[in-house]
């Protein structure tokens, strides 16, 4: 991946943290360099700060998109208000994260972006262990037995199965399952997840829906 961030220390921290998580990252410190490097090489994800010297993040991404570069972009910005987010996504960004952020949140989003480049949308059936979600029949089974879900729970599970084996954060769930980009004040998501857990894991020895402390949740066959 490529980190385009003018704050040297923040970029170094991010590079180091990504390396520890098994990702290699290049760093560019201004908009012009970032554009040159992003054009030249093949990164999985671009992490772009909104406010950059020489050329700001928005115009950088607009330029890349106009040139046909489709690499997923995650905007990092201290500008967090709703309209800034919308501007970021309109410019061609795929995700938007407000500073200060939790690294686990960033990592989960990057990994989700990397996976998005794979053609998951065409999949009609997801499977994690003995849990199966059939998108055509709109049906969920665990070990052969039907699991009855509310529409919202179904969408929650579908999103988690699409990202199976990956950490999904509470904000990711709120944004992708509910399409809300605001602060819910309470642990609303936790309650929804625990209800879902009650329906898919209750009565089974092997839990599939795990809580990842300090980060979010993960659907996976086996321990986290």
């Amino acid at each position: 991946m490529l980190i385009i961030e003018d704050d040297v220390e923040a970029a170094l921290f991010l590079q180091k943290a990504l390396k520890e998580s098994g990702h290699s990252a290049d760093v560019a410190h201004d908009g012009d360099d970032g554009l040159v490097i992003a054009r030249d090489c093949c990164h999985d994800v671009l992490i772009v700060d909104r406010m950059l010297p020489k050329q700001d993040g928005l115009s950088l991404v607009k330029t890349l998109r106009a040139e046909g570069v489709r690499t997923p972009v995650l905007f990092l910005s201290a500008l967090g208000a709703v309209d800034d987010r919308v501007k970021g996504l309109k410019a061609g960004g795929d995700d938007y994260l407000t500073k200060p952020y939790a690294f686990t949140e960033l990592l989960a989003r990057i990994e989700s972006l990397v996976r998005r480049t794979e053609p998951v949308e065409t999949q009609t059936r997801y499977q994690v262990g003995d849990l199966i979600l059939d998108r055509l029949a709109h049906r969920v089974t665990r070990a052969g037995g039907a699991v009855v879900l509310q529409p919202r729970e179904y969408r929650l599970l579908e999103y988690m199965m699409r990202n199976a084996g990956q950490v999904v954060t509470r904000t990711m769930l709120l944004e992708n399952v509910w399409d809300y980009h605001f602060d819910p004040q309470t642990n609303v998501i936790d309650v929804h997840v625990s209800r879902l857990r009650g329906k898919i894991d209750k009565g089974f020895d092997r839990p599939l829906l795990h809580t990842v402390r300090g980060a979010g949740y993960m659907l996976r066959d086996g321990a986290v």
């Binding site: 967090g80 208000a81 709703v82 309209d83 919308v86 407000t98 200060p100 939790a102 919202r152 509910w178 809300y180 980009h181 605001f182 602060d183 819910p184 004040q185 309470t186 642990n187 609303v188 309650v191 929804h192 209800r195 402390r213 300090g214």
Partner: protein, 468 residues
């Protein structure tokens, strides 16, 4: 205080009101002078033309006499017609070819009049004005027929004086009027300026006095006073906010600091450190949450969220948010009921309205539990009339006493009984800010029992359907 007075006069003369008056007076006097001057000139030339005509007729009759009876007859006629020179009377002079006076009441041939010319005005007897036409007779003698103009010029002089005095009076009245008007205005303006100066010196409670005449100055003063009122409120609010920030952000910050310190001192080592760090991160997250809410409110109050309106079904959004919170309410022992309503499409900032609804429901869940009961009831509904769109969230809790209702919408205000529960103290202020951004209001009502919060949006946000 002569010095002060002259300073005051200089100030008066320098005022815009006086300058405008002076300009108007000058323009008026100039125009009047042009009109009167033209009239004057016209009258004068008309009078002169009349005199010239009669002079010309007399001259012709004398020439006729000379032709009929010769020089001698002329000398007699001239002598007969010329009495002593008097005002308005005829003036005659007949000279022979050698230039010797033969007859007439003029003493000398005036230098202004040529021998052959058309004639014109001249002065005789040192000062008296006259107009005359010469005639050169066939025998070489010279005749001058003229008329005294003393009367006419006296009339002209009188008219001229009258006009000068009139103009003088006019200018004087205009300027004095201008001075008085300027003085009146200056007094009022000085009041405003003085108030402004006092306010700038730090006394924000000062207001501009009204004259009670309901004139434009009073209107200005009322508006300025309203502006000052708003500024005073904002400054007071700002002061309160900074006090509250100091309190509500310092508290979690010092808690974070002591957690970090405690973890470092903990003899249990690495495990305790990891645990302490996790807590520190939680504290930091809470602080960031408070901070984000503060920033959002500040941006909303500055009206900075622009171009973000979209058209959506408010009823759908209300249902979605209620759906999101339903399990949470359930866990808290509260029953969340959504009052059914048809689709209501509005053009607004969907995320902000969603946040506001979420805050209201969240508040109802946290603080709306009926006292001495384990079960609560929260109703969420939408009420659309021709004048307004009302989003209503009601609970069965303790409610908010009337006296506290305006206070709770302010930042960080938390009623004492809710201090122990989690929350940033910004929930309702954010709702109020979202309402204001959409030109609406937030109302707190008695739900008998409990609290009912109404987010009132103007019906101008309504759209007939999606995509309009």
């Amino acid at each position: 205080m002569p010095e002060a007075r002259s300073g005051g006069l200089a100030r008066l003369l320098g005022t815009t009101a006086f300058r405008i008056t002076a300009l108007v007076v000058a323009a008026f006097v100039l125009t009047a002078a042009i009109v009167v001057g033209a009239l004057f000139w016209q009258t004068n030339s008309l009078l002169t033309a009349q005199v010239l005509r009669s002079v010309s007729i007399e001259r012709q009759s004398l020439i006729d006499v000379a032709q009929a009876g010769g020089t001698l007859a002329l000398v007699e006629t001239v002598a007969g017609r010329s009495g002593a020179p008097n005002a308005g009377g005829a003036l005659l002079l007949l000279l022979d070819a050698a230039g010797t006076k033969l007859s007439g009441n003029l003493l000398v041939w005036p230098s202004e009049i040529g021998i052959r010319g058309q004639g014109g005005t001249f002065t005789y007897a040192a000062t008296r004005p006259a107009v005359g036409i010469p005639a050169l007779l066939p025998d070489g003698s010279l005749l001058l027929v003229a008329r005294d103009l003393t009367d006419q010029s006296a009339l002209i002089d009188r008219i001229r004086r009258l006009f000068l005095v009139g103009f003088g009076l006019l200018s004087l009245t205009g300027l004095v009027g201008g001075l008085i008007a300027s003085r009146l205005m200056l007094t009022r303006i000085t009041q405003i300026t003085d108030t402004g100066a006092t306010i700038m010196a730090g006394d924000l409670s000062r207001r501009i006095p009204l004259s009670g005449s309901d004139d434009e100055f009073d209107h200005l003063a009322v508006n300025l006073n309203a502006m000052l009122e708003r500024i005073e409120q904002l400054v007071a609010a700002m002061r309160e906010v900074s006090d509250n920030i100091a309190h509500d952000l310092k508290t979690p910050l010092s808690r974070l600091r002591s957690r970090a310190e405690a973890a470092r001192r903990d003899p249990a080592g690495a495990a305790a450190h990891a645990d302490g760090l996790a807590r520190v991160i939680d504290d930091a997250d809470a602080i960031i949450q408070t901070f984000n809410a503060l920033l959002l409110i500040a941006r909303l109050e500055a009206g900075a969220v622009d171009n973000s309106a979209e058209i959506f079904d408010l009823n759908q959004l209300l249902g979605d948010v209620a759906d999101l919170y339903e399990p949470v309410a359930d866990e808290a022992g509260q029953h969340l009921t959504l009052m059914p309503s048809g689709p209501v499409f509005i053009s607004a900032n969907k995320q902000l309205i969603g946040q506001a609804i979420a805050n209201l429901i969240d508040n109802a869940i946290k603080y709306g539990m009926p006292p001495a009961s384990r079960e609560g009831e929260i109703t969420v509904g939408l009420n659309v009339s021709t004048s307004a769109i009302r989003i209503v969230v009601g609970d069965r809790g303790l409610g908010i006493p009337v006296a506290d209702r305006t206070r709770v919408a302010r930042r960080f205000v938390r009623l004492d009984r809710s201090r122990t529960k989690p929350g940033t103290g910004l929930g309702l202020s954010l709702v109020a800010a979202v309402a204001r951004l959409h030109a609406g209001t937030m109302q707190l009502e008695d739900n008998a029992p409990g609290l009912r919060v109404v987010l009132v949006l103007p019906s101008s946000l309504k759209r007939t359907r999606e995509g309009e």
